[in-house]
């Protein structure tokens, strides 16, 4: 297994709704190696999306700590977290979270603009290339409303990759798609993982999606119940139907 790019130590999350406390995660500990394609699975309310948001720096845990690239990020100031999200992390939302007034190319290019003129100039071409990679080179000038759900999700994937992140997080990327569009999105993610070595962590409750992962992590009631086997190689771009990772017994990775 490669060096861990994500380290989670005893992370708990409690949401406070007025006087009511709603526990969502209990002392989750896990490591994800560079280049892995990990699927966090679990039933609705199991805490899988909550865990993903802690890892992707969109939320802060109530307890425990998270290290990305060996750097403790749990208590980083928001502006540093913003910079990390911009430059090192990519995020794909469950719903096609594109800006409606921007074209597909502009949506992809937008995060690069935040890096300054020099990087932005270099990344103009890259935005086109990424759209080509996700099979939407011809749709670059279309706005989100002119794209199907699957196409929008692939634009979102291209956007997540524009700043050459080391980790891409995806929160149920196929939840709102039909099976064909969902399969296309998963194949896109798998191919990117395989071709570029980018670490991908995604959340799903669909075993079909889990089949694309190189490792499955199971959550139940906010607790880690199965870490799955660590994989040395990137995932294949077709589901491993004969040996689905979901069926593999837990092994290693937890501390």
């Amino acid at each position: 297994m490669n060096d861990p790019i994500i380290v989670v130590e005893n992370v708990s999350k409690i949401y406070r709704l007025g006087a009511v406390s709603v526990p969502a995660l209990f002392e989750v500990t896990l490591e994800i190696a560079s280049g892995e394609m990990v699927c966090i699975m679990g039933k609705s309310g199991s805490g899988k999306s909550t865990l993903l948001r802690q890892l992707s720096l969109i939320d802060r845990p109530s307890a425990g700590r998270i290290l990305l690239h060996g750097q403790e990020v749990t208590h980083l100031a928001e502006r540093h977290r913003t910079l990390l999200r911009l430059s090192s992390l990519g995020y794909v939302f469950q719903e096609y979270a594109l800006i409606p007034e921007l074209t597909a190319w502009e949506n992809v290019f937008l995060p690069a603009m935040m890096l300054g003129e020099a990087r932005a100039a270099a990344y103009r071409r890259r935005a086109h290339d990424l759209l080509e990679q996700v099979g939407l080179g011809e749709r670059a000038r279309h706005r989100p409303r002119e794209l199907s759900g699957g196409e929008q999700q692939r634009v979102a994937i291209a956007r997540a990759l524009i700043n050459s992140p080391t980790i891409v997080f995806a929160d149920e990327p196929t939840a709102n798609l039909d099976s064909i569009a969902g399969a296309t999105v998963m194949q896109t993610l798998t191919r990117l993982n395989r071709d570029t070595g980018v670490t991908i962590v995604f959340v799903s409750h669909d075993p079909d999606d889990g089949a694309y992962a190189s490792r499955l992590v199971h959550l139940g009631d906010g607790r880690l119940i199965d870490l799955g086997p660590a994989a040395d190689t990137p995932a294949a771009d077709t589901p491993a139907a004969d040996t689905p990772a979901a069926d593999t017994p837990a092994a290693g990775g937890a501390s």
Partner: protein, 405 residues
Amino acid sequence: MRLLANIRVAAFLAARSLIRGNAGVSLLSILMMAVIFISVLFLPSLISGAIEAITTQITSTTASDLLISPGAGAQIITEKTAYLDEVRAASGVAAATSTLRIGTEIAHGSESNAWGVDAIDPASYAAVFTSPGHLVEGTYLDPDDTTGILLGIDIAGADDTTLRAYANSLKTVHPGDTVEVTLAGGARAPFTVRGIYRNYFPLSDAGAFVTEAAAARLLPQSLNTANRVYVKAAAGTTSDQLVSAVTGIRPGLKYQTPEQLTAAIQDQIDTFDLINNIMRVISLLVAAITVFIVTYVDLAARRRQIGIERAIGIRSGAIVGSYLIKAVVTAGIGILLGLAAFVLAIIPYVAAHPFRFPNGPVALVFDPRITAQNVVILLLVALFSALIPTWRTVTMKILDAIWGT
């Protein structure tokens, strides 16, 4: 570099949102700002117009640019012909004329009242004052006319029952009618009404004028005397310059400029200013609330999008900047639209159809300084009104923004 990137992204997002966003909302916001800007401009322009109307009426119908009267203790200016010639020759003087009070009461039938009757030289009077050009009935006085009289509408009445002064007027007098004037010595003399003028100014519409020839016939001792001398300034000459130019001609006279005369109505002007300031504050508040609501509603609809933008690394500064740019651009276009409508449509329309104020017709006066001041204030109001809800949205937790909690 970070600031530049923020500005670039803010401008990019704002431009795309303005061009490709909800055109109806943008258009309504622009129209709202245009209407607000017109309302901000309208009242000051009207008040300026009212003040200018008073000043113009005073200078063109009652006091000219410089009113010269006998000094303390004196009743008349003697050798007035020679004095007028010298005044006319002074620097900055366009015209000069004089009046001599010869009558104190006018009667027609059973109606009578105490009105002053002044003897004038019709030609020089017309060169200084505009009343001769404002005839509503009849004709102006001929210099050799020794039996004719020119009446203001508030004296004649002219069967116009809508006149404010109708009840105290002679009510039914028209050109050709004969009125009786009680002269300074108490004698009465008949005069035939030649014309009736109307300046729409109470201070001058109660005037009555006969010729100096008539005064010489009835009061020979009044020849070559005057109670008042009126001076019209040449273009570009101020009243103070006029005073300086004529003071040395004859010592002991009293000089009054329009500024000194309008000081008497300063209370009115101050009240207008107070109303104006109140209305301006109300208009700016309406503008602020409008921008706030538009931005707030826009943000409420886009809160999730903003959360997502922050989640993918778009800095808060860029997001706030995009909304501020949108607000300022929308306000700016609205202001330009309002300004164009005001200058190109409303001002010309009111000039053609002036408001009828008690002191005369009032048009709108465009003041570039006040307009520029209002533009800056309105843009700042738009900026701060957009800043408050935007700042609140970008400082909430990302998840709260995305979930709308």
